[in-house]
């Protein structure tokens, strides 16, 4: 692959594009451990970082990798780590410490099927883990979810910027498809401006010594520290919301999807329109902060909302919280490394359309009560290619 200063169209693999974007964003050090489907990211770094006189260490485990990142970033270096789901679980401890001691690191999770060793196929099964706070304690982490390789390149630079601006770990949440796929892209790299870290432990020199730590043994002191962290999270929640939409203006039925699921949904809404069903796509890019306000505004105009995920239903919880009953919410998900086909999603859109009622200005409560869908009986279970669409949380399971 050719890396060129002048943007030109090149074919890039997701993992390698993310790695190169980090290098071009001024990443000083990378620490990782081999795991499929993100291994090419580590391999790219192994070759490129020493070439540039920067730091690459293949750690003895993901536990060590994240802690090497903690040490390097605590001295003020710009640092990236990457892994995939099982390895991310091992990094949870370090993430909590970085959140507590306010150390900026960019972490890439190229999600694979789980639980456990799972599969190496693409998945979005780590949504709750990533978005609700992987490690222990009261904290949030910004999570950016690219849906294409060129977007991944742009978000890597954004991630470093957010990490350093707010002194927080930031997650790039991709999946096996984004990591492994090759796409023609016009890479536009960006190096965020460096700000002198006036908190970093980089040798006291003539100044007073600094301590980068998360321990505050006195409850009064820890509560103050937590208040400070929460204020920071509110600031991020207000300033760092990212989302995009397609064909939303006249959409009767709105698909909410991110990452690879959104790629499938893009095709699905167009096919649905070809069949006369006005569908649109709402695509969260920041999963935390979740674009709740934008979705809430959209919901009353939608006949129904269909959440599509490569999981058994995780982001749907945030969609429901945002929608607050202002529209029926259905779900279409595949797990284990399976990716739904656009036609599967179109079929779900049609079924959802069929069991909901048009918006006609009736009072929300009454309309909603009458629109409670007829649920499939257990005898009439959908086949695997026909996942359930219901408005009932108890029936959110993917029928197999």
């Amino acid at each position: 692959m050719v890396i060129s200063a002048a943007p030109e169209r090149v074919l890039m693999k997701g993992n390698e594009a993310i790695a190169e974007a980090a290098i071009q964003a001024g990443c000083d050090a990378y620490f990782g451990y081999p795991i499929t489907p993100q291994a090419e990211l580590l391999e790219w770094m192994a070759r490129r970082m020493p070439e540039l006189g920067r730091v690459f260490v293949q750690a003895e485990s993901e536990v060590a990798a994240i802690n090497m990142a903690l040490g390097a970033a605590a001295t003020g270096a710009r640092v990236m780590v990457s892994s995939s789901s099982p390895g991310i679980s091992l990094m949870a401890e370090g993430m909590s410490y970085m959140a507590g001691s306010e150390v900026p690191v960019v972490l890439v999770n190229v999600m694979r099927g789980g639980p456990g060793l799972g599969s190496i196929g693409p998945s979005q099964g780590d949504y709750l883990q990533m978005v609700k706070g992987h490690g222990h304690g009261d904290y949030r982490t910004p999570v950016l979810a690219p849906s294409s390789i060129s977007e991944a390149i742009a978000l890597v630079a954004d991630a470093f910027e957010i990490a350093e601006r707010y002194r927080t770990p930031v997650v790039i949440l991709a999946d096996g498809t984004l990591g492994q796929a090759m796409e023609p892209v016009v890479p536009v790299y960006r190096m965020p401006r460096r700000v002198e870290p006036d908190w970093a432990a980089n040798g006291r020199g003539g100044r007073r010594p600094r301590v980068v730590k998360s321990l505050h043994l006195r409850p009064e002191e820890l509560e103050l520290h937590n208040d400070h962290l929460q204020a920071k999270f509110r600031e991020i929640a207000a300033a760092e919301v990212r989302w995009t939409g397609e064909l939303l203006d006249d959409a009767e039925v709105v698909v909410v999807a991110y990452g690879t699921a959104a790629r499938v949904a893009r095709t699905a809404i167009r096919r649905a329109r070809e069949g006369g069903l006005r569908a649109g796509l709402f695509r969260p890019i920041s999963l935390w902060p979740f674009p709740s306000a934008a979705l809430a505004e959209l919901a009353p105009r939608a006949r129904a909302i269909l959440v599509v995920e490569l999981s058994a239903g995780q982001m749907i919880e945030d969609v429901r919280l945002a929608v607050e009953g202002r529209a029926p919410v259905g779900f279409h998900g595949r797990t284990g490394g399976m990716v739904p086909s656009p036609d599967e999603v179109v079929a779900s859109l049609r079924r959802l359309w069929a069991i909901t009622e048009p918006r006609n200005g009736e009072p929300q409560r009454r309309r909603h009560a009458r629109s409670t869908p007829t649920l499939p009986s257990r005898a009439a279970r959908p086949t695997p290619s026909e996942p359930a669409i219901t408005d009932e949380p108890a029936l959110q399971e993917v029928w197999r």
């Binding site: 000083d28 050090a29 620490f31 730091v55 260490v57 750690a59 003895e60 485990s61 536990v63 060590a64 990798a65 802690n67 090497m68 990142a69 903690l70 040490g71 390097a72 970033a73 605590a74 001295t75 270096a77 640092v79 401890e93 370090g94 410490y97 001691s101 432990a201 980089n202 040798g203 006291r204 020199g205 003539g206 010594p209 600094r210 301590v211 980068v212 730590k213 998360s214 321990l215």
Partner: protein, 298 residues
């Protein structure tokens, strides 16, 4: 640079005078024989009376000062009683998760080639939860000095058994004494590390008495110099006491260090500055084939 202390009276007559209030003998200028190292904060520690951590902190503060590296030192604190080391020694510190100090220190080492990197770990931290991290940092020959304080117990959490606990030793999690059949054998981790080619210096000292502390100081100095020579990884294990965890008085616990040393012999295991380390590395790369040896004997 030290904060001067006045020499204590030594004559039998003066010894009966109230401690700390005896005036200097008239007609002689006070002679400074000891003091608080400037790098040690002027505050009481949180350590239990009789605990060895204070002595080790002092030695580190003295040596960082002697070597002139305090301004560029980035120290890594462990989890355990000594997590608060950063409250006592006046350099930049990073707090590591439990057992991860060698990984954190590796990150520091790699991005800050000019820094002096020191880590302080206890035996629960280093020899139990952080076993992988210490072995691999040593195997990589990271230019880090590790001060490993081994008191054979988890002091901070209430005196539970550690991998380093002696056989037969009673702790709150081995109430009938550590039995090898259930809990295995004490882990001689410094010996394990000493066999790695990346390790330039490995030794074990003890806080058993003043002379031993003097020898320990020399060991620490040697270990800390290895980093300045670019020789590789250096570790000093310190046999320390835990009077509260061991259920002993301070003096009993210090006397008991002689028993501890029967399991963990005191001495220098490896000392190879750069040239020697390179030779050792070359020698150790060729691991002897045990089958070949058997064939020869047959």
């Amino acid at each position: 640079m030290t904060t001067p202390l006045v020499e204590r009276p030594t004559s039998p007559a003066d010894a009966s005078a109230p401690t700390g209030t005896a005036p200097a003998p008239t007609g002689t200028a006070p002679r400074i024989i000891a003091g608080r190292p400037a790098l040690l904060h002027d505050k009481s520690t949180h350590y239990c009376p009789g605990c060895g951590h204070g002595v080790v902190h002092r030695l580190i503060a003295e040596l960082l000062e002697d070597l002139g590296v305090a301004d560029r030192t980035i120290a890594v604190a462990p989890v355990g009683c000594s997590v608060f080391a950063y409250d006592y020694i006046d350099v930049d510190w990073i707090e590591a998760p439990h057992g991860r100090a060698p990984a954190v220190a590796t990150g520091v080492r790699r991005v800050r080639p000019d820094a002096y990197v020191l880590m302080y770990q206890g035996d629960g931290d280093l020899a139990a939860i952080g076993t992988a991290e210490i072995i691999h940092a040593a195997a990589r020959g990271e230019g880090i000095v590790c001060v490993f304080v081994n008191n054979g117990i988890y002091g901070m959490t209430g005196g539970q058994m550690a991998p380093t606990t002696l056989l037969g030793q009673t702790t709150t999690s081995s109430p009938l004494g550590r039995e090898a059949s259930a809990a295995g054998y004490p882990l001689p981790i410094t010996e394990m590390l000493a066999m790695l080619p990346g390790v330039a210096y490995a030794s074990r000292g003890t806080l058993a008495d003043a002379a031993s502390i003097g020898r320990l100081r020399a060991m620490l100095k040697r270990a800390m110099e290895m980093q300045l020579k670019g020789a590789g990884f250096a570790i000093v294990e310190v046999l320390s006491n835990c009077p509260v965890g061991w259920g002993m008085t301070a003096q009993e616990s210090i006397d008991h260090l002689a028993v501890v040393a029967e399991t963990y012999p005191v001495g220098v295991l490896v000392d190879r500055p750069k040239a020697a380390a390179t030779a050792a590395r070359a020698a150790q790369t060729a691991i002897p084939d045990p089958l070949a040896a058997t064939a020869l004997e047959a």
